[in-house]
């Protein structure tokens, strides 16, 4: 909330009106005096002033390029926002203009004046005018619906007239009685119909001082926002996604509502004049309003923090009585990072057909449960707030074509191990070799590369005129990339650490217009994904090895290890409106594809945080849920699967939620996860360089054991930890087994594989002992554990038999011996247990 509410004196005291341009960049106000003011969004500078020949303006409407201003003398004038000057007089009426509405495509402007007819004028060609004449008295307000095919005219006779503009001659579609109050032309109270952004309903202030919703498909009264005002409503505005509503009354009240539940979220008591016009900013949490005292208020962070997230969710449904789909899909949805952009699109002529289709479709759905007996079962879930009526972005958004254009949410590209600017510095790369950071010096950057091993490498530092924004560091060299600018195209720069010639660093320039979206560096190659959808692979000394187009683009990130290159790109759109991330792993030297366009396993609403190869060369990912996953069996096409190694949320120090800490991944090495612990809700590490922390892997097999276990459940804890150990050692064994089978492994790796196999059996032996100790009745499980043993020499089964004997489990011992014998002669297959 803004702590201090500052009025901006915009005009001479008196009625003042405002309009945002659809792109949200500018805000235009008009008032009594002969000047218009054009405020820039997000700027506290003095507004631009357009001096105009008219005064006493009562109406303004803006598109991105021009504004229309209606004055008391009956003129509607068009001013250009590009030049801030008058363009033409659009239309002139003999009596004062009361309201102007511009269709969403900016083609038509409806002008309500004290004359009987409402004129709908083409904004480009003022000779094309349509007249709405069905209403018997002057109109007070006009408003276009979202598709621009309908106009709701609030007439001074207390009726709302809905006209269709789809034909040459406008036709009256519906006359709605009993909705609005009979108001005088000059009344401060409003009867304006405000269309909900999903286009399925509009709402208008009712005579009972409520804000009444009317469905578009049957023009029946739906839900109402009740009890907010003690005076008539003077202005109202839906938030751009329709999730919130603000209404203001002539009693100087201002109320924020939640659309879904029609609940009053907040009543503001800091309004001192009657608000006449009010509008949300199309994307930000900003509400602007003007009052009858010539003042403009731009209230940033208007929706309180706890409700601000409602502004980020996808387009919401209008609160009609029957919303079966909404009630079923009561899932919380992810915020749309792109924001919704209502009216930010130009609609074409076949809108009306789409509108009709929309009607037809929504009728099927919307009337599924009709609350005809008034029992309220259809709206019950909404009242008790248990079921959240939010839209599914995907399929429903398609139906809502008249609303904001739905766009798939793509994942932004990122560079693993880098942080965003904070202050004037950022880390470009942070790994176990060292770290690269840069300082913004306005005209240039200074880049510093520091190593952990100071004996092996020497730290260096250089002045960077290219403003490198990506870097990779390993034992052999440092790779930088920068964006193109007016002076140079995008550049890749590689600098080896050691050289026996005089100078081996090299730069390569990408074709003009192509930018680097992510880079990676391995011991043998350099990989860059670009905005043109290409993957470019170079040798360490700048020989272009290959280049191909990424199948799933735009690229998100890439990683490499020796000759293996992993690229991640945006794939097809999933059910939640986000694109699926697809990865491809390729061996560039052998020109083999290990995994092609396989899905990166991320649950709904979880984002990819980092991609890297472990020290042993297995791909790992870290997601925004704090889970570290490793790719198993990835060398065989189609066999790869993501296995969780560690859930950092279950770590002792992070669990319990006492401390607000999170992990920022750095690397996986030495069978440990190396990360930086960030405290206090920070998202990225900053300076001074924090210490690395490391955590042992712990596969989340079962709930984490309590810290204060007593003697009774220490047995359970022991078993659980052994079980976890079993799963983990099997995983490690399979990883190393894959490595040994698929590559020309060294002797030590082969030894490690057999060692790990023994390790698995040892854990099983311990588990067997635990089971034996539990009692005779656990014999079946004990035997099952014995069958899991991998050892083919029979020694482990022999040991298992001995354990059983030691606990005097004779039958079990016999059975194990039997199993061992059958195995020895090859009677038992792996499949047969």
């Amino acid at each position: 909330m803004a702590t201090k509410l500052r009025a901006r004196p915009a005009h001479a005291p008196g009625p003042t009106y405002l309009s945002y341009t659809p792109n949200g960049r500018k805000l235009v106000t008009v008032g009594l005096n002969g000047a218009l003011r054009v405020f820039q969004h997000d700027s506290d500078d003095e507004p631009a002033v357009i001096d105009v020949p008219t005064d006493n303006h009562f109406a303004v409407a803006a598109t991105n390029d021009f504004i229309l201003v209606g004055a008391e003398d009956g003129s509607v004038t068009k001013y250009s926002l590009l030049t801030n000057s008058m363009e033409e007089m659009l239309v002139r009426s003999s009596l004062p203009v009361r309201d102007i509405a511009i269709s969403p495509d900016g083609q038509w402007a409806a002008v309500a004046s004290d004359e009987l007819e409402v004129k709908v004028v083409n904004t480009q060609d003022m000779s094309r005018v349509m007249y709405l004449r069905e209403h018997p008295r002057p109109a007070k307000h006009v408003s276009f619906d979202i598709s621009g095919a309908m106009i709701a005219v609030s007439c001074t006779d207390g009726l709302v007239y809905v006209y269709s503009l789809s034909s040459e001659q406008p036709q009256l579609v519906k006359r709605i009685d009993g909705l609005i109050k009979l108001l005088d032309n000059e009344a401060e109270a409003s009867s304006k119909a405000v269309w909900h952004p999903d286009g399925r309903a509009f709402a208008a202030p009712s005579s009972t001082r409520d804000f009444q919703v009317v469905a578009r498909n049957d023009w029946k009264l739906q839900k109402a926002f009740q009890g907010g005002h003690r005076g008539d409503i003077s202005a109202a505005a839906w938030s751009p996604n329709g999730a919130l509503l603000v209404t203001a009354g002539v009693d100087k009240s201002l109320v924020l509502w939640e659309t879904r539940s029609q609940k009053m979220l907040k009543s503001f008591n800091d309004v001192h004049n009657v608000i006449l016009a009010m509008q949300w900013h199309p994307t930000d949490n900003v509400l602007s309003y003007t009052n009858n005292n010539g003042e403009l208020f731009i209230r940033e962070n208007f929706a309180p923090n706890e409700h601000a997230k409602l502004l980020k969710i996808a387009l919401q449904h209008a609160p009609t009585n029957a919303d079966p789909l909404n009630d079923i899909s009561g899932n919380a949805r992810r915020p749309m990072p792109n924001g919704v952009k209502p009216n930010g699109h130009v609609r074409s002529g076949d809108d009306y057909i789409e509108g009709l289709l929309d009607d037809a479709m929504s009728q099927d759905g919307a009337d599924f449960i009709e609350d005809d007996d008034g029992a309220g079962y259809a709206e019950e879930p909404n009242r008790n707030g248990k079921r959240v009526a939010r839209s599914i972005e995907g399929p429903q958004a398609k139906r809502q074509t008249p609303g904001p254009v739905w766009q798939p949410q793509i994942h932004e590209p990122f560079q693993p191990g880098s942080t965003p600017w904070k202050g004037n510095r950022r880390y470009l790369c942070f790994n176990l070799t060292g770290f690269v950071w840069t300082v913004n010096q306005e005209t240039h950057n200074t880049v510093t590369v520091e190593f952990y091993d100071r004996q092996e490498h020497r730290d260096f530092h250089f002045t960077d005129p290219y403003m490198y924004d990506k870097a990779c560091l390993n034992e052999k060299g440092t790779l930088f990339a920068c964006f193109g600018s007016s002076h140079h195209p995008a550049i890749l720069y590689y600098r080896p650490h050691e050289t026996w010639t005089s100078r081996t660093d090299w730069r390569t320039e990408l074709p003009k217009g192509e930018e680097v979206s992510s880079i990676s560096l391995s011991d043998s190659c350099i990989v860059a994904t670009t905005t043109a959808g290409y993957v470019r692979i170079y040798s360490l000394f700048g020989v272009p090895l290959k280049m191909y187009r990424l199948k799933s683009s735009p690229a998100v990130t890439c990683a490499s290890w020796r000759d293996y290159v992993m690229t991640v790109g945006n794939g097809p759109v999933g059910g939640d409106g986000m694109t699926r991330l697809l990865y491809t792993i390729e061996n560039v030297k052998r020109d083999e594809i290990c995994q092609s366009e396989d899905t990166l396993a991320l649950p709904d609403g979880v984002e990819l945080k980092s991609v890297f190869f472990s020290e042993k060369g297995d791909p790992c990912i870290y997601d925004s849920d704090g889970v570290l996953l490793i790719l198993q069996h990835w060398r065989t096409p189609g066999q790869a699967k993501w296995v969780p190694l560690l859930d950092t949320k279950t770590l002792d120090r992070l669990a319990g939620g006492k401390k607000e800490e999170s992990c920022w991944p750095v690397a996986v090495a030495n069978n440990k996860f190396h990360c930086i612990i960030l405290k206090g809700g920070e998202e990225y590490p900053y300076f001074p360089r924090p210490l690395l922390s490391d955590f042992e892997f712990r596969i989340p097999i079962s709930s984490a054991p309590n810290g204060d276990e007593d003697e009774i459940n220490s047995e359970v804890t022991l078993r659980k930890s052994l079980e976890e150990e079993y799963v983990q050692s099997s995983l490690q064994h399979s990883l190393i087994q894959d490595l040994v089978e698929n590559t020309s492994a060294t002797q030590t790796q082969k030894l490690e594989a057999t060692g790990l196999e023994r390790e698995v059996d040892k854990v099983l032996l311990q588990l067997l002992a635990v089971e034996c100790r539990e009692g005779e009745e656990r014999g079946m499980k004990a035997l099952e554990i014995a069958t899991l043993m991998k050892d083919r020499t029979g020694k482990m089964l022999e040991a298992a038999g001995k354990v059983a004997q030691r606990f005097h489990r004779e039958i079990l011992s016999e059975k194990i011996t039997h199993l061992a014998e059958r195995r020895m002669v090859g009677l038992v297959d792996d499949d047969e247990v």
């Binding site: 952990y452 091993d453 100071r454 004996q455 210490l691 030691r806």
Partner: protein
């Protein structure tokens, strides 16, 4: 050969003993594992932290080949929580507890030692990890004062806030010494002071004094003691000694 030193250990000797403690080191260059008398060290591989004996860590630190990462109890939060415990009215009588003992390693089975590994239990000052980064953050190990002093002297740049840590260490030392001194008031030839959780340097510091006092008191009381013994012997001969001897024993235990 007579040494002009008081009995017990001198501070420098205690400091020397402290140097066998393992501390966590973040190496800045590679070093193969060394075969030391105290056991082999881990090979150093930056940036992976490794436990090293304090003397070796200080040596590497002085040569700028490593950074020492101070144990968690030697942090501002850790020390202030310990100091709070020491100064709290409810716990003003006792010293803050020593680190909890490790669980016996391995697991034994009831009535059967099969699969049970060596379950050796350690006690201070031989606790593993008492001064590495894995140590308990809320307990002072045996060598806390010496270790803190050495680290603050030689590796103060590895601390987040060395001055506050130094001040807290000094506060702690004063609080605990005053507690010890308070204990001396009740010193008697036969009385004792409970010193659970007292560190090595503190013992070395008070050993000379306490020993002297107790010895002096014993000397002063010798004649009384002898006369009492004589009396007791007489009483025993008279067959009345049992109960009074028992009382004496009880007093001793106070």
């Amino acid at each position: 050969m007579a040494l002009p030193l008081p009995p017990g250990l001198t501070p420098s000797e205690v400091g020397f003993l402290c140097e066998m403690e393992l501390v966590t080191v973040i190496p800045r260059q590679r070093l193969e594992g060394l075969e030391l008398l105290g056991g082999p060290t881990q090979s150093l591989n930056p940036p992976f932290p490794a436990p090293l004996p304090l003397w070796l860590a200080l040596l590497l630190k002085r040569q700028k080949r490593a950074n020492i990462s101070p144990p968690p109890w030697l942090s501002v939060e850790g020390l202030s929580s310990i100091l709070d415990f020491e100064t709290d009215n409810r716990t003003a009588e006792v010293f803050s507890p020593a680190p909890s003992l490790p669980r016996p390693t391995g697991f034994g089975l009831p009535h059967d030692e099969y699969l049970s590994q060596d379950s050796l239990e350690f006690s201070p000052p031989f606790l593993a990890d008492s001064s590495t980064t894995r140590s308990q953050p809320n307990a002072l190990p045996y060598h806390w004062l010496e270790l803190g002093h050495l680290l603050l002297t030689h590796a103060s740049d590895d601390f987040d806030d060395p001055d506050t840590v130094r001040r807290l260490l000094r506060d702690l030392r004063e609080v605990r010494m005053s507690k010890l001194r308070k204990g001396f008031r009740v010193l008697d030839a036969g009385a004792g002071v409970k010193m659970n959780g007292v560190g090595g340097m503190e013992i070395a510091e008070v050993r000379g004094f306490v020993g002297g006092v107790v010895d002096g008191l014993r000397k002063i009381n010798r004649s009384r003691e002898e006369s009492r013994k004589d009396r007791e012997a007489e009483e025993r001969e008279n067959g009345l000694g049992g109960s009074s001897y028992q009382d004496d024993e009880d007093d001793m235990q106070l």
